[in-house]
């Protein structure tokens, strides 16, 4: 499909761009999960959501520091929407707990499969990063799978909410498997895994969780793309406005 590029986009170093994609995915999802703090359905869930968020912020810190030559904060707090490279899925609003868990299942299953392969990258930093992060993400995948099953096969209301949560997020899944020139260049250099190689495995894994949850898989929808090129949903600007307000308001301060 025809796609518009942000005007005057800076020249792209593919590895730098890839670090931003991975780092921004973790950062924005971590930020979203942080919004739950103190408001979860039960104390144990508050603990697990904070735990997921903490892992993701940790991942973002490593990735953005690598991308920013040691200064991850400059990248996290001083870029605007057009320069963020996260996928659209992670910036989706939390909605109710079912929608949050649907988003997390869809994302963490992908991230887990990606990191398993990234741990065999030709890039030493990415190998070290992914070897550690894959363990965290395995837990994220397990936790969200369990909740999707519990809610799908719980009450009529929870099944209905789970169906709606999946339906909301489903249109953003194809973006996870999109390969553009930047990614292709890294696949060719064996730095990045080719996500298309595990798309079938991903779809089967999600189908298996939904089957156990006694839920119908959502019907395929027209893919919504653009995050990797800085073309986001309306939500991201608001996420950034909140997240970046202090460093932006006091640019000379250190914290």
């Amino acid at each position: 499909m025809a796609t518009a590029s942000p005007v005057d986009a800076p020249p792209v170093d593919a590895r730098h761009d890839y670090l931003l994609r991975l780092g921004d995915d973790s950062l924005i999802l971590g930020q979203r999960l942080g919004e739950w703090c103190g408001h979860a359905p039960v104390l144990e869930v508050d603990l697990s959501l904070a735990n997921l968020s903490l892992d993701l912020i940790g991942q973002a810190t490593h990735l953005l520091e690598e991308a920013g030559a040691g200064d991850g904060d400059k990248l996290a707090f001083h870029r605007d929407v057009l320069d963020f490279r996260n996928c659209l899925l992670v910036e989706q609003p939390n909605g109710d707990f079912a929608r949050t868990m649907a988003r997390h299942l869809l994302f963490s299953t992908w991230q887990h499969m990606l990191f398993q392969r990234l741990a065999r990258s030709s890039d030493r930093f990415l190998v070290e990063f992914a070897s550690k992060a894959v363990k965290e993400v395995a837990y994220h995948r397990e936790l969200s799978s369990e909740w999707v099953i519990r809610l799908g096969d719980g009450t009529e209301e929870s099944a209905q909410r789970m169906t709606e949560g999946l339906d909301w997020n489903w249109r953003f899944v194809p973006e996870l498997f999109e390969v553009d020139e930047t990614l292709q260049a890294l696949i060719d250099r064996r730095i990045a895994p080719d996500p298309r190689e595990f798309e079938d495995e991903y779809r089967s894994a999600i189908a298996a969780v939904l089957a156990e949850a006694k839920l119908e898989g959502p019907a395929d929808q027209r893919p919504i793309l653009g995050g990797r090129r800085g073309h986001h949903s309306e939500h991201l600007g608001h996420v950034l406005a909140v997240m970046q307000f202090l460093p932006r308001t006091y640019p000379d301060a250190t914290w």
Partner: protein, 326 residues
């Protein structure tokens, strides 16, 4: 913290079997731990249930003023530290609810008591967090006061509470250090940051002193609680200790403690300090704190909005059990 005795209505009744009571008192006096299955006087059980659940509620409500800044933490490192801290507080809430449950009241009953306004929580969380420096001040002052209250509770007479406190205290000292580190950074930062730091100290100082509860003269249950080793030092003793430790820390930051009457008293080896506004304290205890309504609304809303999740988890568990049995 959060161990202030906030209820004056507890009546100590001695309708117990005098022999059992005598044996119990002797064990407590010998600093033995009382365990859940041991005999204990009803008043001891009631007082402890109230104190531990109040402490648990304080941890949970205390997540809100700090949670208010998780999405706005000014660096990745600060965000991660704050998340870890708030996560610890949820954990403290959990152990404390569990410790209180060993006394025979369920977590649901305790939460219900909080939501209907019957149970209290620390007054400190009914004040708002306005700037990032408040996150520093909470760690430094509020967690500092909490540690002062909780360290003696590691030797409290009820075993499950004492053991929970050992872990809680370790984590609280990390919380206090991170708060003070934020204050150091802000107090040595730009003029705007210094202003935020001083303003945070101005707002949090007196409410922090109130965390130790009413003066000993107006704390009718202190004597009984001390005898039962539920409490090990009086409110005024702990408050004095806190002032003596904290004032030099404020000096080191170059910040001014908002108390005209504050003065070193050589003869007592401690600071003299001004009169606390007890009218404010009691009104905040009554639920009239600046953001008391917001805090309770947030807790009730989380609980009500989450009802369908808890119902679904229970229904799922039931289905699994039925399938297993089949």
């Amino acid at each position: 913290m959060y161990t202030t005795e906030l209820s004056k209505t507890a009546k100590i009744q001695n309708l117990e079997d005098p022999k059992l009571l005598e044996a119990f008192e002797a064990r407590v006096a010998a600093d033995e731990f009382i365990e859940p299955k041991d005999w204990m006087p009803e008043a001891y059980r009631r007082t402890l249930t109230r104190q531990i659940s109040q402490h648990a509620h304080s941890e949970i409500v205390g997540m809100l003023p700090e949670g208010n800044w998780i999405t706005r933490a000014p660096s990745l490192r600060r965000k991660a530290i704050l998340l870890a801290k708030v996560q610890d507080e949820a954990g403290h809430g959990l152990y404390l609810y569990c410790a209180a449950e060993t006394l025979g009241t369920s977590r649901e009953e305790m939460i219900e008591a909080l939501h209907c306004g019957k149970a209290k929580y620390s007054t400190i969380f009914n004040y708002p967090t306005l700037t990032w420096a408040d996150i520093g001040a909470i760690g430094w002052l509020v967690d500092g006061a909490a540690i002062m209250n909780q360290v003696p509770l590691q030797r409290t007479s009820y075993g499950p509470y004492a053991r929970a406190m050992v872990r809680v205290c370790k984590e609280e000292s990390f919380h206090q250090r991170q708060g003070y580190e934020i204050m150091i950074t802000m107090a040595n930062g730009t003029p705007e940051q210094k202003r935020m730091a001083q303003d945070a100290l101005n707002r949090w100082w007196w409410p922090s002193l109130m965390m130790f509860g009413p003066p000993d003269a107006d704390s009718p249950n202190t004597a009984q609680s001390m005898r039962w080793r539920i409490k090990r030092e009086t409110n005024d003793e702990l408050r004095q200790k806190f002032v003596d430790i904290t004032v030099p820390q404020a000096d080191f930051l170059g910040l001014k403690v908002p108390d005209q009457a504050l003065e070193w008293n050589e003869s007592k080896g401690g600071y003299d300090f001004g009169e606390i506004d007890w009218e404010e304290f009691y009104s905040v205890v009554r639920g009239e704190g600046p953001v008391a309504k917001e805090r309770m609304e947030a807790r009730r809303k989380a609980w009500e909005d989450g009802a369908w999740v808890r119902d679904a988890a229970a229904a799922h568990e039931e289905k699994r059990r039925a399938r297993k049995a089949a």
